[in-house]
């Protein structure tokens, strides 16, 4: 065989060996939807804002400037020399404005609204990520155990889910958050509480928001996971694995979870807007982040009383909140359509 022919054969072999996983297929489908890709770009952009918040925000989110409070957007004030020298950043404004322009105005304490909105991305994204992980983990484990065990175990576990579905969790979660906040203010002796309070500090006062949102949303995930496990565990490839002598761990980790994870991740991506809303709601009623950490919900709450004269204090954080959820919604819809092969080719 000549070298040329060999090479050609190799090339052909490569072609035959080429392959696309279901994942790659779906991603190709996803990329075809412009709106979904647009949503993803916005989400990525917001993530970059969150990571590099100090770079993008001209002032610190907690820096007060009481003389310049409630500044309108794009209004500038003369402030002390030292302040100007230290804090002026990349958006050097035209000379007539000086360098103290608040592009989005300032709040009642004279804090730069734009900087606070930029830092607020951190809270929203952290909640989105953490709550999604919490509810995904709990839902996946709970649902998989329930579905795989079957029988009475399954029955009991699902009755608990039914119970939690039947009661109004939000007010109860609110009370739990109040309880936790009160105890952590007062200090506690129980090691569990001390540990939780420490954890809460580490999470920037958001621990209970994570727990609350996760706790509210794992139920649906558990039901979904269980349903998936039930249908997959009867599938013949699982039976084949058992016929080969596979143990439960092998079946669960190799066959069930990889198949169940996809639908759960899609469900999570569609649930994220809800998580972001809920954090805003909790912060709005004063149960979210601890001040001065900026959360969009808390900012709406702070600005709300002055809506009449300073609407920007509410409208800008509201706009940010809506933009991010809109992006997540578009992205989630795109993911669902791309992965739901039943829908493929329809829209």
């Amino acid at each position: 065989m000549t070298a040329d022919k060999k090479l050609e054969k190799l090339k052909n072999a490569k072609k035959i060996g080429e392959s696309r996983s279901p994942m790659q297929d779906a991603m190709r489908e996803f990329r075809r939807s412009k709106i979904a890709v647009g949503g993803m770009i916005v989400v990525v952009f917001v993530a970059i804002l969150a990571i590099f918040a100090p770079v993008f925000s001209p002032y610190g989110f907690e820096v007060q400037n009481l003389r310049n409070n409630r500044a309108k957007p794009m209004e500038g004030y003369d402030i002390t020399e030292t302040y100007a020298e230290e804090k002026c950043h990349w958006y050097e404004t035209p000379l007539e404005w000086g360098c103290t322009v608040f592009i989005a105005g300032s709040d009642a304490l004279g804090r730069d609204l734009f900087s606070r909105i930029v830092y607020g991305t951190r809270v929203s994204l952290a909640v989105a990520l953490a709550a999604a992980s919490v509810s995904l983990m709990i839902g996946l484990i709970y649902g998989t155990v329930s579905g795989y065990a079957g029988g009475n175990v399954d029955n009991l576990m699902m009755r608990l889910v039914d119970f939690l579905y039947a009661i109004p969790l939000l007010p109860i979660i609110i009370l739990m958050t109040v309880y936790f906040n009160a105890v952590s203010r007062q200090g506690s002796e129980s090691p569990l509480m001390i540990w939780l309070i420490g954890l809460d500090k580490a999470a920037g006062g958001l621990l209970f928001v994570f727990i609350a949102i996760g706790a509210l949303n794992w139920l649906g995930m558990a039901r979904l996971a269980r349903g998936q496990v039930l249908s997959y565990k009867e599938k013949e490839f699982v039976e084949a694995a058992r016929a080969l002598g596979a143990e439960n761990g092998h079946i669960i980790f190799k066959h069930l979870i990889p198949n169940v994870l996809g639908p759960l991740l899609i469900a999570e991506s569609m649930a994220i807007p809800g998580y972001i809303f809920l954090e805003a709601v909790l912060s709005f009623i004063g149960l979210g982040v601890t001040p001065p950490t900026p959360s969009w919900g808390a900012m709406i709450n702070e600005g709300y009383s002055g809506l009449r004269s300073n609407p920007h204090l509410v409208l800008f954080p509201g706009f940010a909140l809506s933009t991010l959820t809109l992006a997540f919604n578009f992205m989630g819809d795109g993911l669902r359509d791309a992965f739901d092969t039943r829908l493929r080719g329809r829209n």
Binding site: P171, I174, V178, F284, I285, T325
Partner: protein, 323 residues
């Protein structure tokens, strides 16, 4: 069916019991008590003890709980510590109708706007009309009450000065306990709160209606019928509609729950004297009975809402049999 409903109601009893128990224990476990302070000063020890004895708070927890349960069975939701002259019953009687009117009207707006929009989108599948409707729906799902409320207030209340920006336009007592007076004042006050919850619902409903109708329309029997001509197509669409609405009914449950969440915010934003606002305002206080009883009322609402959904579902979809 009656048997099914009765069984569901019986099953709700332990659920309600556990819910009350959990809430009662939780509120009582909060550090501090209702009589720790008068205004800014701390309450003298002996008066505090006296007051606590008066409300039975010195008794063991289980005794308090069963006394509360006993009173509940007689329709007594318990006392208010902050306003001894009125009781939790009075609060619920004032706030419940407001929340119910707000919730029901929002759900109605959701359906009245959502279903036609969903139908229009599905019947004009893949046309500009479809895209615009779908796009608008996603946008309104993405603007929560928390944002839409202030936008509405600023636009219609402040700038245009068309609608009142706060308070509910009617006070109890109502006809049948919850039917609002059909006055223009009432509707002018209700417009913005109802829309701030209702548009999000409408968007969700429109999306579901569209998906459901597309599903049915792509079924073979509908396709063949459509090929036969417009007249039949109209018939089929009306038939198809009933089937495609089944999934819409299923979200009634989450919708009702959503109306509860929404009311927490909306009542706050529009300063409505509803249960949600009362509940949120009480969280800093130690109003044990008020908090437990409001959770109970929410629970009853949720349970009956879910039951209603299941009954509706069975009625729409004859394949489902409950026995």
């Amino acid at each position: 069916m009656t048997k099914y409903i009765i069984r569901r109601l019986l099953m709700a009893i332990p659920v309600i019991f556990l819910m009350i128990l959990a809430t009662f224990v939780l509120v009582q476990a909060m550090p501090g008590g209702p009589f720790d302070a008068v205004g800014q000063k701390s309450m003298p020890e002996h008066i505090r003890i006296l007051l606590e004895r008066r409300y039975g708070l010195d008794k063991p927890l289980y005794e308090q709980f069963f006394r509360y349960l006993g009173n509940l069975l007689q329709g007594d939701l318990g006392p208010l510590f902050r306003q001894p002259s009125s009781s939790v019953n009075d609060i619920v009687a004032q706030t419940f109708p407001v929340s119910i009117q707000l919730g029901l009207m929002s759900v109605m707006v959701g359906f009245i706007l959502g279903i036609p929009l969903g139908i229009i989108a599905a019947l004009n599948h893949n046309t500009i009309l479809d895209y615009v409707t779908t796009f608008l729906a996603v946008i309104s799902v993405s603007v929560p009450t928390l944002v839409l409320g202030p936008i509405l207030i600023y636009t219609f209340g402040v700038k245009l000065d068309l609608l009142p920006i706060a308070f509910w336009g009617a006070d109890p007592p109502f006809t049948l306990g919850f039917l609002p007076p059909l006055t223009s004042t009432f509707f002018r006050h209700a417009a913005m709160p109802v829309f701030s919850i209702g548009t999000g619902m409408a968007a969700g409903i429109a999306r579901l209606t569209r998906a459901g109708l597309l599903d049915v329309l792509s079924a073979d029997y509908v396709r063949t019928a459509r090929a036969k001509g417009l007249q039949e197509r109209v018939v089929i669409v009306t038939h198809a509609l009933k089937n495609s609405l089944i999934p819409v009914v299923t979200i009634l449950g989450p919708l009702l729950a959503g109306a509860v969440t929404g009311s927490f915010i909306t009542e706050q934003i529009f300063a409505l004297n509803g249960m949600g606002r009362r509940f949120v305002n009480s969280i800093g206080q130690r109003e044990y009975f008020l908090q437990t009883s409001l959770v109970l009322v929410y629970g009853l609402l949720l349970i009956s809402g879910n039951l209603l959904v299941d009954v509706l579902y069975a009625w729409l979809d004859p394949r489902i049999r409950y026995d």
